[in-house]
Structures are given as structure tokens and as C-alpha cells.
């Protein structure tokens, strides 16, 4: 295990170094990523200019949700963006290389790309999260900080797993189009707002099918003390992360068995 973690960071360091070669490109990427996140922040500021609270959720409390989702995704981008290369690698046959090396294929694929602009997302996410927490007037318990850290960590795992899973479509459908995984990944935006506002169908989707809500809404209610949330909601991020990893590894092994390389 220790060896694998060492390899993970070694591989990522190589990626980050090559990304830093093009300094201007890095800044353009980081600014672009931050601007994209600012859209929902600008909306929120405007929205709360006209209403004072959304069913018990103030602007600051919603910023906590946004901060958690943004940070988790930023970290995913930084350390596990390789899953988004899977389709291209399977299509052009360079995935063959991954299979012959004596390092687990999943680890290689995850580390195949490190998007350093993720640092922009994660940084902005942290700032938003801290501002949200500071102004939410919450009571800190001994478990608050651990819960927050676990939530963000599990969120990173969940986002990575879901993106990995949707990109594995390449094993079954070689001509897979790029927008499907993007659409599923973007559905995390639902979890940037309290789930109470949505209808039953959407709440079901982001709680059970694509459990983005489990890494934001449920633990945040506990953290912020909104309503009377049951204590076991503290483990919802872990349920989401573990379930996602299990499903992903099952599908990954099936996919590997199906992979035949390209050409003849």
C-alpha cells in the first residue's frame, strides 16, 4: 500500500512538472476554472439580494455547500484527472501500455493526467467554504472539523469514481461521445444548493443514483445544525464513497476483460 501511494505521488509530480512548463497556459487554465465557479457565486449573491433565506438556509450556509463541492472537485482535478483521458487512450490504443506495466492499471489511469488548474478550484472552494463557515454562526463541536475533512475527502473519491465510471463507457462503446460523462459530472451542481428546494425526482437522483447530495447536503445539515438531522448522517459521505468505489472497481474489471486493443 505504501509503495502504491509513493508511486501515486511520483507519477503526479511528473505530470505537475510538465504542466508547469507552460506557465501562461497554467494561469489561463486556473483563471478559466475559477471564473466558471464564480458564475454560481454571482447568482447566489444576486439571489440573496432579493430574498433573505431559503427555507432555513442563509446565503452563508449555502456557501458552505458550494465550498465543499468545489473543494472536492478541485482536489479531484489536481490528483485524479487521468480518468478523463481513458476514452482517448482506449480509442487510440495507448491503453495497451497501461496493461503491460507492473503497476495497477487503475492507479496508472487515474494518474495519467494532473490538471494543475484544479488548484484554482480547490483554492476558491476553500475560501468560499471558510467564509461560509465563519458567517454561519454555527456551534463548533469536537466532531465538526473531522466531519468536514472526511466530507471533502469522500467527495473527492466520489467525484473521481463517478467520472471514472462514466468514462469507462469507452470499453463498451468505442465511439463514445464526450458530452455524456461531462453531463453526469456537472450534475454535482445540484448538490451546491439545499436539496429541499427540488422535487422528489431530483432529490432521488442526487441522493441514491448519483449521491452528490451525500457529500454536501446531508453532512452539512449536521454541521450547521439545521433542523433535527439524525446523527448517522455523519457517515453518509463514507457510504457514498465506499459504494462508488465498489461499483467502479466491479465495472473496471469487467471493462478490462472486454478491452481488446485497437487494430488487428
Amino acid at each position: 500500500m505504501g509503495r502504491l501511494i509513493r508511486i501515486f505521488f511520483r507519477l503526479q509530480l511528473v505530470q505537475l512538472r510538465s504542466a508547469m512548463e507552460y506557465r501562461a497556459d497554467f494561469w489561463i487554465g486556473a483563471v478559466g476554472a475559477i471564473l466558471q465557479q464564480l458564475v454560481s457565486i454571482v447568482f447566489l449573491l444576486t439571489f440573496f439580494g432579493h430574498i433573505s433565506s431559503l427555507g432555513g438556509w442563509s446565503l452563508w450556509r449555502i456557501l458552505v455547500l458550494q465550498g465543499i463541492v468545489m473543494t472536492a472537485d478541485g482536489i479531484r482535478e489536481m490528483f485524479a484527472d487521468g480518468v478523463w483521458k481513458l476514452r482517448a487512450d482506449v480509442n487510440d490504443g495507448s491503453f495497451d501500455r497501461v496493461l503491460v506495466r507492473p503497476v495497477p492499471p487503475a492507479l496508472q489511469q487515474v494518474t495519467a493526467l494532473a490538471s494543475i488548474h484544479g488548484i484554482g478550484n480547490a483554492g476558491l472552494g476553500l475560501v468560499v467554504l471558510i467564509i461560509g463557515l465563519a458567517r454561519s454562526e454555527l456551534t463548533w463541536h469536537w466532531w465538526s472539523l473531522p466531519l468536514l475533512v472526511i466530507t471533502v475527502a469522500c467527495g473527492t473519491v466520489l467525484n473521481t469514481s463517478i467520472s471514472f465510471l462514466t468514462n469507462m463507457i469507452a470499453f463498451w462503446e468505442p465511439a463514445a461521445q464526450s458530452a455524456f460523462p461531462t453531463m453526469i459530472a456537472l450534475m454535482r451542481d445540484f448538490a451546491k444548493f439545499p436539496l429541499d428546494v427540488y422535487g422528489v425526482a431530483i432529490r432521488f437522483v442526487v441522493t441514491v443514483l448519483l449521491p452528490y447530495g451525500l457529500i454536501s447536503y446531508y453532512p452539512s445539515r449536521l454541521l450547521l445544525g439545521i433542523g433535527q438531522p439524525p446523527g448517522w448522517w455523519a457517515v453518509t459521505p463514507m457510504i457514498a464513497a465506499v459504494a462508488a468505489v465498489l461499483v467502479t472497481s466491479v465495472v473496471w474489471h469487467r471493462g478490462l476483460n472486454r478491452y481488446q486493443g485497437v487494430g488487428n
Binding site: Y22, A24, D25, F26, I28, G29, A30, V31, G32, A33, L35, Q36, L38, V39, S40, V42, F43, L45, T46, F47, G49, H50, I51, L54, G55, H117, Q177, S178, A179, F180, T182, M183, L186, M187, D189, F190, F193, V197, Y198, G199, I202
Partner: protein, 280 residues
């Protein structure tokens, strides 16, 4: 959509170069049809935010008649149609423009005896025809079946909406074109597209109507050309702007369009020199 195509057809009869541009549009139209599933998902993913905004505003309007002069009926209609319009001239158009610069295919564009800006508009038209059809299907499907959007305020409102929409389309193509020229200086087209999309979503009034924005942001959005893409057509559609203000809005739109056209041609000529340096 047909209105946009009609303009091109009519211009084609008068101008000898017209049919050439039209054939360029037809090429990209066929490409877009070939990749219709991607286009479908690309339009579909912008509607995630329509659903989010619908539910948030529904909660905000509980027990209120209007917010900043907009009723719940108007707000609902605004959100759905704004995203429908914003899906036009989407990711594909911009990335195609950047790809020609990145791969060097731009050389072929340069040797053609055609205006480069017009060429790009013609290409965008082809993509937009398909994007527009899918976006219209989404807007009407989701809008009429689930979100109960309203028809235009009146017949003149509908006509003005159509006119403003066409000017807005041309404005957006020119802006995307100007941004794509920056790929002459940077390799990170993705970052440029992200920035462009984000700024456009805010300042065009897609994410939230101009009237609701905080004062300072409203002032910025009101003078910039981006409002002409989404906000101006929708203000006319909803009939929230009447009389001389309509003339003012359209004048601003056309003025910016002309300015952007001149700017695009100037910028292109400047970028042209860079290509020679790289090629030499």
C-alpha cells in the same frame, strides 16, 4: 433558425460570394448532424442549470407576486429561454475555430479569396442550425411540458425578439471569434473557452436577469455587448421594455455589432502576422 438561414439565402442572391459562404455553412451543418448525439448532450447539460434555477426561483417566489418587476410567470419563461439561447453557438463553434489555428489548418482558410470573419460566421451558422433545432426541442419540450413557459407578450414582441435574436447570434459569433484568435498566443484553448463561457453567462444575463443584478454589476452589463445575446431578446419577448427604450436597446445592439465586426477584422489582420512568424 429558418429566419437566420433566410437572411443568408437572400444575401446570397445579391452577393456573388454568398453561395460560397452558404456552402461552408452546409459543410458544418453536415458535421453537426454527424455528431448529433454529442450536440444533444452538450445542449442537455446546460439544462441542468435551468432545473436548478427553476426550483430556486420557485422557492423565492413563494408568497411573493414579483421580484424586481418580474412576475413568477415571466421569471420562469426567462430562465428556460435564456438557457435555450445561450446553448446556441456553443462549445463546438469555439473549439472548431481554435482547432484550425492549433492544427495549422488555418492556412487553407487564408488562401481562400473570402473574408475570414464571414467564413467563420458561415461555419457557425451550420453548427447553430443543428444546435438551434436541438435547443429549441429542449426548450419547448421542458418549457411547455414541465415548466409552463409563456408565449411572447404580443405579435410585435415576437417579431422584435426574432430580430434581436439574429443580431445577438452574430454578436456572439464575433465575440467567440475574437476569443479564438487568442489561441495564436496561448495553447490553452480550454481555459479560454471556460473564461469566455463564464463571463458570457454572467454578463449576457443568462444566469440572472440584468434587472436583478447588484447595482455595480448591472451598470457593467448594461453597456457591454454581451447583453445583446440573451438579455435584449428576452426583454423584448417578455414585453418588459416598450416604446423608445426598444429603439435604444436595438441601437446599442447594432452599434456593438458593427464595432465588433471592425474589431474582429483588425484583430485578424494583426494575428495574421504572428502566423507568418511561427511558420517561418
Amino acid at each position: 433558425m429558418t429566419a437566420v438561414e433566410d437572411v443568408v439565402t437572400r444575401r446570397g442572391r445579391r452577393d456573388t460570394a454568398g453561395p460560397k459562404y452558404l456552402s461552408l455553412a452546409r459543410t458544418t451543418l453536415q458535421q453537426a448532424i454527424a455528431y448529433r448525439i454529442t450536440t444533444f448532450f452538450n445542449v442537455g447539460l446546460t439544462f441542468i442549470w435551468v432545473i436548478i434555477l427553476y426550483y430556486l426561483w420557485r422557492a423565492a417566489y413563494a408568497g411573493r407576486v414579483s421580484i424586481a418587476g418580474l412576475t413568477w410567470d415571466q421569471m420562469r419563461t426567462y430562465v428556460v429561454i435564456a438557457y435555450g439561447i445561450n446553448a446556441l453557438v456553443g462549445w463546438r463553434t469555439g473549439s472548431a475555430m481554435m482547432a484550425t489555428i492549433r492544427t495549422g489548418d488555418i492556412v487553407f482558410e487564408m488562401v481562400r479569396p473570402l473574408n475570414y470573419c464571414t467564413t467563420q460566421i458561415a461555419r457557425a451558422l451550420g453548427f447553430t442550425a443543428v444546435e438551434g433545432a436541438i435547443s429549441l426541442a429542449f426548450t419547448l419540450g421542458i418549457g411547455l411540458l414541465f415548466l409552463d413557459i409563456r408565449p411572447p407578450a404580443s405579435l410585435p414582441a415576437a417579431l422584435l425578439f426574432g430580430l434581436a435574436l439574429i443580431i445577438g447570434f452574430l454578436t456572439k459569433v464575433l465575440i467567440v471569434f475574437l476569443v479564438s484568435l487568442l489561441t495564436f498566443w496561448t495553447l490553452n484553448g480550454m481555459g479560454l473557452m471556460w473564461s469566455q463561457q463564464a463571463i458570457m453567462q454572467i454578463l449576457s444575463g443568462t444566469i440572472v436577469p440584468l434587472a436583478l443584478m447588484p447595482g455595480w454589476l448591472q451598470v457593467i452589463a448594461q453597456v457591454l455587448p454581451l447583453r445583446g445575446i440573451v438579455s435584449t431578446p428576452l426583454q423584448l419577448y417578455l414585453g418588459t421594455t416598450t416604446g423608445w427604450s426598444v429603439v435604444g436597446l436595438l441601437t446599442l445592439q447594432v452599434g456593438w455589432l458593427i464595432a465588433l465586426w471592425v474589431l474582429a477584422n483588425l484583430a485578424w489582420r494583426r494575428a495574421f502576422r504572428i502566423v507568418e512568424i511561427q511558420g517561418g
